[in-house]
């Protein structure tokens, strides 16, 4: 167990607690809009944790994509469906489902504890500070972009086919309804 400076430890607990508290508030709010806002707060805290893990690029992307783009779309959907008031949506989650979800959550928590206690193999672990050095050498973006466009170019390109299939699919469903209505 290496020693972390107090500054680091303080911020880890600060953002960690904010993330957990916001996540709990997120699942317990009845109004969709405030739930969405707490989710934004969770996303921001996670972004801070990524930065502390020497992954500033991932942190920035987290803010841009999740806290920014996706949450804005989310709020648009809530507004378009007019779900602003809590009274308008019936809570479909019954007591049994909540219990089951809680049990799954506990199981996952227990799993994480069990896994952190299992020792990692020495040959497969990186020396501490490897990530920080790599960020210094290649730059925060280069460290992600390098492997993405060399080693993992094939999966990257397949992703574009996946997105194409998703776009064609959504257009097809949206477009066909008009054709059917016109009939």
């Amino acid at each position: 167990m290496e020693h972390y400076p107090l500054f680091y430890t303080f911020h880890f607990y600060l953002f960690g607690l904010v993330a957990v508290a916001s996540a709990i508030l997120f699942v317990t709010r009845r109004s969709p809009v405030s739930a969405a806002m707490w989710l934004v707060s969770t996303m921001f805290s996670l972004a801070a944790l990524y930065v502390m893990l020497d992954a500033p690029f991932i942190g920035v992307i987290q803010v841009l994509v999740y806290a920014g783009a996706i949450m804005v779309v989310f709020l648009f959907v809530i507004m378009l469906l007019n779900l602003g008031q809590a009274s308008e949506i019936a809570d479909v989650r019954s007591q049994g489902w909540r219990l089951a979800a809680g049990l799954v959550g506990l199981a996952l928590l227990a799993e994480i504890f069990a896994l952190t206690r299992s020792s990692s193999v020495s040959g497969l672990t990186l020396a501490p500070g490897t990530a920080a050095r790599a960020v210094n050498d290649a730059g925060a973006v280069g460290m992600v972009a390098g492997p993405l466009f060399t080693t993992y170019l094939l999966p990257f390109e397949i992703t574009s086919v996946l997105l194409l299939a998703a776009i064609v699919g959504s257009v097809m469903i949206g477009k066909q309804r008009r054709a059917a209505d016109a009939r």
Partner: protein, 517 residues
């Protein structure tokens, strides 16, 4: 091109050659997509696009045939270049071509105007071909997602049918749920071994003594759950009957035949190549999965009277038989798997084609009772359906190659050093149970009188008729010459060189081991 030396997949140009069939299908699909959107919608345009799609599939199959003929091999990389991939590709392309042919007739009858649906089927198939080829967990995941996303939409293609919407929604939610399991499992496996390439995972598991690592084993367990959902193995099969019932029938055929075969191909390759070192840990889990799936699928199918639901449970049962081939973990097991997948795909496609032919507009007349006395009004259709039912049952001679498919799986299960006697007994017993519903359909068609007031089904349209006839003839022909297909599948096992209980069959194992990434 010279294939005497293996393709070096770390060189981009050679990787491109190895991906030629996939790239051809994807590129062709994109051009067809533009063409589909270019012209105003119309019945003729839809038919033209469908025909072009089938032509593209034929072209891809020719390219694959050329790769088989030249016996291409490759060094270990993100994708595999081996017989297993090519044969699985041919199975998938056959199912895709059949599905597009059926949808061309079906969409016209149901008044659905969506030429891009045919192209979406092609995109799903390119995801499937990646699954058959994938040797990297990332490619597996992206292949599964490409396939699934397209299929979710296809299931809900008919916007006027509330049942189709329910089917698509259920399929989407449970598909996303199962993908989460799969992805979590993959992440844990990556965490344990530090690799996504499946042969590197296998190597490292041995090299670093990870066979007892809780991280790796939890990952394997979660991946079993994920794949269990994807191939509809009990107890993860609950979604299948509802989804299969609500989706348009050609798409149901596609889900039961191609989607299942593709998911199984990736399932088998990962378990054979990456997880052979931890075989003792997962053997029992897959053993029980196979046994429970065979039992549940066949027993529940006995109570079904809706033909689409009946075939859905039948496809669950067949997932169990295919899991037996996976449990065996030998070269013979993988060869039996390919043979079985080939025969099962043709028989499933054929039987759903009959359902398409007999279902009138709006998907009525799908009850088994509507088939009563079919022999008296549409004798050829009745004979073809009987062939498909008997093939799925595994009946000798009249069921064509269906008998040999089950026979080879049984043989593979019993030929390994520690024979799986109990599993073989379960397989035989549940097959006997399955006679209860397969033969019931045959009996109803041939021996019951036609219901009073039942309309005589219209003559099946050209393409549907062709799919039915071709499937039946192919099944019977393979029943007389099974060795043709056996020769094609021989030496196709994607076995890891570290493999434990390999059977007698001579398999050219990869001689080069991958350099660590």
């Amino acid at each position: 091109m010279n294939f005497m030396t293996p393709l070096d997949l770390s060189i981009p140009s050679q990787l491109t050659i190895a991906l030629a069939p996939d790239l051809l299908l994807m590129g062709g699909a994109m051009i067809l997509l533009l063409w589909a959107a270019w012209r105003p919608e119309g019945v003729r345009h839809q038919r033209t696009i469908g025909t072009a799609c089938i032509a593209l599939i034929a072209l891809t199959a020719v390219v694959i045939g050329w790769f088989i003929y030249r016996n291409a091999t490759a060094t270990q990389g993100p994708i595999a270049v081996d017989r297993f991939r090519w044969i699985a590709d041919l199975v998938l392309l056959l199912a895709t071509a059949g599905t597009i042919a059926l949808s061309m007739d079906y969409n016209e009858r149901e008044g659905m105007m969506a030429p891009e649906a045919h192209v979406l089927i092609l995109l799903a198939s390119s995801g499937m071909m990646l699954l058959a080829a994938a040797r990297d967990l990332m490619v597996v995941f992206l292949g599964i997602e490409t396939m699934s996303v397209a299929t979710y939409v296809l299931a809900g293609m008919n916007r006027r049918s509330p049942r189709a919407a329910e089917s698509a929604m259920k399929y989407f939610l449970l598909g996303a749920f199962s993908t989460a399991f799969l992805l979590y499992g993959m992440a844990l496996v990556y965490g344990a071994t530090g690799a996504t390439n499946i042969s590197v995972i296998g190597d490292r598991a041995v090299q670093y003594g990870l066979t007892g690592s809780p991280l790796l084993l939890t990952g394997v367990a979660l991946m079993i759950v994920g794949f269990g959902f994807k191939v509809a193995a009990a107890p993860f099969h609950m979604w299948a009957p509802d989804v299969y019932e609500g989706a348009p029938t050609p798409i149901t055929a596609y889900m039961a035949a191609a989607v299942k075969a593709a998911a199984f191909a990736a399932f088998l390759r990962i378990w054979y190549e990456a997880f052979t070192p931890v075989y003792p840990s997962w053997h029992n889990a897959i053993w029980w999965l196979a046994a429970v799936t065979m039992a549940v699928g066949n027993i529940v199918a006995l109570r079904q009277r809706d033909l689409k639901r009946l075939l859905a449970y039948s496809s669950i049962a067949h997932a169990g038989y295919l899991l037996v081939a996976l449990t065996v973990n030998s070269a013979a097991g993988s060869e039996a798997f390919l043979f079985y997948a080939f025969v099962y795909t043709i028989a499933t496609l054929g039987s759903f084609a009959v359902v398409v032919a007999l279902g009138e507009a709006g998907e009525r007349s799908l009850n088994v009772d509507d088939y009563a006395g079919l022999w008296t009004v549409r004798p050829w259709l009745a004979i073809a359906m009987a062939v498909f039912m008997l093939a799925l049952l595994g009946f000798p001679v009249f069921g064509g190659a269906g008998f040999f498919a089950k026979w080879y799986v049984l043989k593979a299960a019993l030929q390994v050093p520690s024979p799986h006697w109990k599993l073989a007994v379960v397989l035989v017993l549940t097959s006997v149970v399955s006679a209860g519903y397969y033969l019931y359909v045959v009996m109803v068609m041939f021996m019951r009188p036609r219901l009073a007031g039942a309309v005589v089904p219209a003559r099946s349209r050209g393409l549907t008729g062709f799919v039915i006839a071709a499937s039946a003839v192919l099944l019977i022909a393979l029943g007389f010459f099974p060795e043709r297909l056996v020769r094609l599948t021989r030496g196709s096992a994607p076995l890891s060189a570290l493999s434990v209980p390999a059977a007698s069959s001579s398999v050219p194992l990869p001689l080069t081991r991958p350099a660590d990434r």
